[in-house]
Symmetry: C2
Subunit: 568 residues, 2 copies
């Protein structure tokens, strides 16, 4: 930061902080009649939504929530969650979006670690609460969220099932609260949201975001998604439905954008394929985001073909894991517009989203698939670099590999009460993503590997994923895993595990000959060829089904010495 001349300020002059309430305010200004829909149960317009957010603010005050207190939410994707996105934050409290998919012991850890004072919990998740309630150290009050109040199976004011020790049911509390509330001004660096990310080791890490960061994340999305039409989104004609949980990195920030644009929003509650498809069609949904698994589930639903006409208006941003060309093709054939995005919990999350420039838009749908399955193009206001082991920047030439490091207006500034891992994250003043990639001169990001899996051999970085991709093309190979092992001369060298398809018989020499031919055609660098190729009947996986390379590395010796394998 160089010294400059700052603007002088008259004593009474006012310049507003960048707060989430300013996003909310837009939703009333121009098109307040547009709707927010919850499943097939409930619908309100933005006037009612704003009243409800203010009612929520008054309920929070009654529950003794003060600025700086943390309020946890355990809910499916709902209008209530959206009200918490805007309302909990705008009273100056912190919204903890609890990952309901974690094991109860980890849910308990995150609630205690975040020092949650009030919990709002959907009745579906009460069993989790029952399991951990005795161990919660900071929670003072509970509110239950129920869908029954919308179906007439319970009267709002006499919900029978409110558990003991609960302050009440959400709708009942709202209905008794005033819809007048003046959201205060406060420092834009006020803590707005927090949630936990789990790695393969250690306790969950708490990331956190300020009002200014979420405001700017919304401006980034606005610039890219609406301005540049990276995923063309028009508040006036598009209908938004998230299919990424709202507890997962703010549902990628889209709820804030859709609200400030007063776009019609559809919240699907618990994800059920039939209902998702029904909402897509009856509510005219045109924009969503989800992980590949969900897209695959919808695309392979037998009903999908029947609704081609509706699906052909649907645009889906894919993230979480890589969009395969096969799935992208299947979706495209149904008329669905797909695009990949890239980010993580630490980055609020958007770092990159695919964008086809004027020239690329003229490519055939088939040619576009390769671009649409890339991680994306660097998003507006995000600075991204590739860094090697020595902290040096690697050129953006489309093939040199380096760890993605980033700067931008919406990155977590550390991990909550974990200064050590926070310092690692921000080593050298850049946020380290742990992902290895190349970047093209025109800003396409192509993910190659995780830093801990990339193989560093003789000064070159070998992507284990790329090598697995090459091996998968060998006739007879069912599955493969490539890892690096220490090597005196080269630092590390690649080693491969291979599972054969039934009825095939291959040798390490045969595979190496196949690779040698690729090297001679210039399709492969010679340092990619594994030192050892080992045939196995099983490859270790993590609980979420990813290849457990850590385990493979640590057990490699055993595997090598094991029984049912052939060693080259």
């Amino acid at each position: 930061m160089i010294p400059t001349k700052l603007i002088p300020r008259t004593a009474e002059a006012h310049e507003p902080p960048l707060l989430i309430k300013n996003l909310l305010a837009q939703s009333l200004r121009y098109e307040p009649q547009r709707e927010i829909v919850y499943r097939d149960l409930f619908r309100i317009n933005y006037i009612q939504f704003n009243q409800r957010v203010r009612q929520l603010a008054n309920v929070l005050a009654e529950l003794d929530v003060k600025p700086g207190d943390t309020v946890a939410v355990l809910d499916w994707d709902s209008h209530r969650y959206l009200e918490c996105f805007l309302g909990v934050t705008s009273v100056g409290a912190i919204l903890h979006t609890v990952n309901v998919r974690l094991p109860p012991a980890q849910v308990q850890y995150t609630i205690n670690h975040a020092k949650d004072k009030v919990i709002l919990i959907h009745e579906d998740f009460l069993p989790i609460l029952t399991a951990i309630k005795g161990e919660l150290t900071t929670v003072e009050k509970y509110v239950v969220l129920s869908d029954k109040v919308y179906t007439g199976t319970a009267r709002i004011n006499t919900l029978d099932e409110i558990p003991n020790g609960f302050s009440g049911e959400y709708e009942a509390l709202l209905s008794k609260a005033s819809d007048q509330y003046e959201f205060p001004d406060f420092d834009e660096n006020t803590w707005a949201t927090t949630f936990y990310t789990t790695g393969t080791t250690g306790s969950p890490k708490g990331v956190y975001f300020s009002h200014r960061q979420l405001f700017m994340h919304t401006m980034g999305l606005l610039t890219y998604i609406i301005g540049y039409e990276a995923m063309p989104f028009k508040g006036s004609t598009d209908v938004y439905m998230p299919i990424t949980p709202m507890f997962h990195v703010h549902a990628w920030g889209f709820p804030f954008l859709a609200t400030m644009m007063s776009a019609k929003q559809v919240y699907p509650g618990r994800y059920e394929p039939e209902l998702l498809l029904k909402l897509l069609i009856t509510e005219g949904v045109t924009l969503s985001h989800c992980v590949p698994t969900i897209l695959n589930m919808l695309v392979s639903n037998p009903a999908a073909q029947k609704f081609r006409q509706n699906l052909s208006r649907w645009k889906v941003l894919i993230g979480g894991s890589a969009l395969t060309k096969g799935l992208a093709k299947a979706a495209t054939e149904l008329g669905i517009t797909v695009m990949s995005g890239y980010g993580m919990s630490e980055t609020a999350p958007i770092l990159a989203v695919g964008y086809l420039n004027e020239q690329e838009k003229t490519l055939s749908p088939e040619e576009q698939i390769e671009l649409r399955t890339r991680a994306g193009r660097i998003a507006p206001f995000v600075e991204m670099r590739l860094m090697d082991d020595n902290g040096q920047f690697v050129p953006h030439d489309g093939h040199s590999l380096g760890e993605i490091v980033a700067r931008g207006p919406w990155l977590t500034q550390g991990y909550y009460e974990d200064s050590e891992r926070g310092a690692e994250l921000w080593k050298g003043g850049w946020l380290h993503t742990g992902d290895v990639a190349s970047i093209t001169p025109d800003n396409w990001v192509i993910i190659a590997d995780r830093t801990k899996d990339v193989i560093k051999t003789g000064g070159e970085w070998v992507s284990s994923l790329d090598m697995e991709d090459v091996l998968s093309q060998v006739e007879g190979v069912a599955e493969s895993a490539v890892i690096g092992l220490p090597d005196d001369r080269w630092g590390e060298r690649p080693h491969a595990l291979i599972i054969l398809k039934p009825g095939y018989s291959l040798t390490a020499e045969g595979i190496k000959a196949y690779l040698q031919a690729k090297i001679e055609r210039g399709e492969l660098h010679k340092w990619y060829v594994p030192d050892r190729i080992i045939f196995v009947s099983d490859i270790p996986k993590t609980s979420v089904g990813k290849i457990d390379k850590k385990k493979i590395r640590s057990e490699m010796k055993e595997l090598i010495l094991g029984s049912s394998t052939t060693i080259s």
Copy 2:
């Protein structure tokens, strides 16, 4: 500002300030091949533009411009001016956009007052400089901007006409400078731009804006113009050409928006009707902004009818003074989309822009005219209120009048070295516009008068402009002026001057009877009826042709006692 919990920050964590260089960076990221055009003389793409901005930064360094120094520009609307918008500010210096229409003595005053160190001046304005150069107290260096270098009438490196004492010609200096320059980070509250606003009394007042303010003004425009499509603008298909001088409130901020969207931009230099029309057509201009006079000049150009097809793609935002229904209709009949905006030098400038909501879009073109000629709808992130004389807020009911006061992320925080008038501007923590208006419940702003001209009678505010509009409808009235004069009982009472059309003979009684009939039909409040109606042969005007109400008020006694008048 209430106290809250701020996000903790890891020592090395980075969060970027909001700087103009971040807007510039976007122009290279996605569509850098799009063009910036200057008249029929010069065109570059955004890659070249970015190189030139960096060359300019190096030229500024050679001219010893340091962060906090002020650089003045006197130029027509040009690519060079745009380069200064981005480049002068991004090195941490302050850009003074000099109003070249001021009398030389005032130009001199503003240059000395702003303490300009370097002046970049178009050769057309050298006569102004010649007149004042001896009186400039702070300027150390001069650079001449010449169009001849683009036409081959002068070679870039040997421009014959560089005056004595000049450091060189802009293109020649650029061509010798490196196009490598790393724009530094600095405080986002760094002073970026300054310019002067002249009122009817006192010396010109210097307003000023920070990087953060101009960044946020761009986000506001983005939200409204691109997001909500208030004046539908798509970077991918729209071509932007300003027809409001760039020295005048940043050409309404559009150059920053167009640059960050890497939209094609056309800079017309000196405004010449034939060239403007030619550029409109040959460059495919679709979006402009201008004062009504310019629109009228183009609409009434005989060539306009011939180019209906081109004009039908043209969208024009009108500001500066009120867009009349007649002009709006004439433009609409040519297929031009017109909309009004409202703002001032103190507000960077956007406070309001017309926006037709879903319901209003269904109105017929004729019905839309009334909306399109209103001052606009309150812009995103702007807070606007109506205030009465006691500092109380007046309801937004569409008829109650009050002074427009505003808050927002891009308002000047005072006047430079003029704390007294700065304190007046910000009295009570709201920026006082000096405009009297009503606001409808759905955020339309309808300007009624200037605060100093509104007539305050018995607790009611009477718009002098509204009353003049009523009088203008009386058969035989050529022109009228309504002012308030002190009244013991009511505080003030309206008085009217009227010029008759040739051949007409009216009496004050006749006019009052006409007004009485309107009162009985509920079309007029009784307190609007002037106490005195005075027939005159001439109404005092200011130098820019507006009715000089200040003069009328002060001379009213003389007028009443004067000779060629009839007194009611």
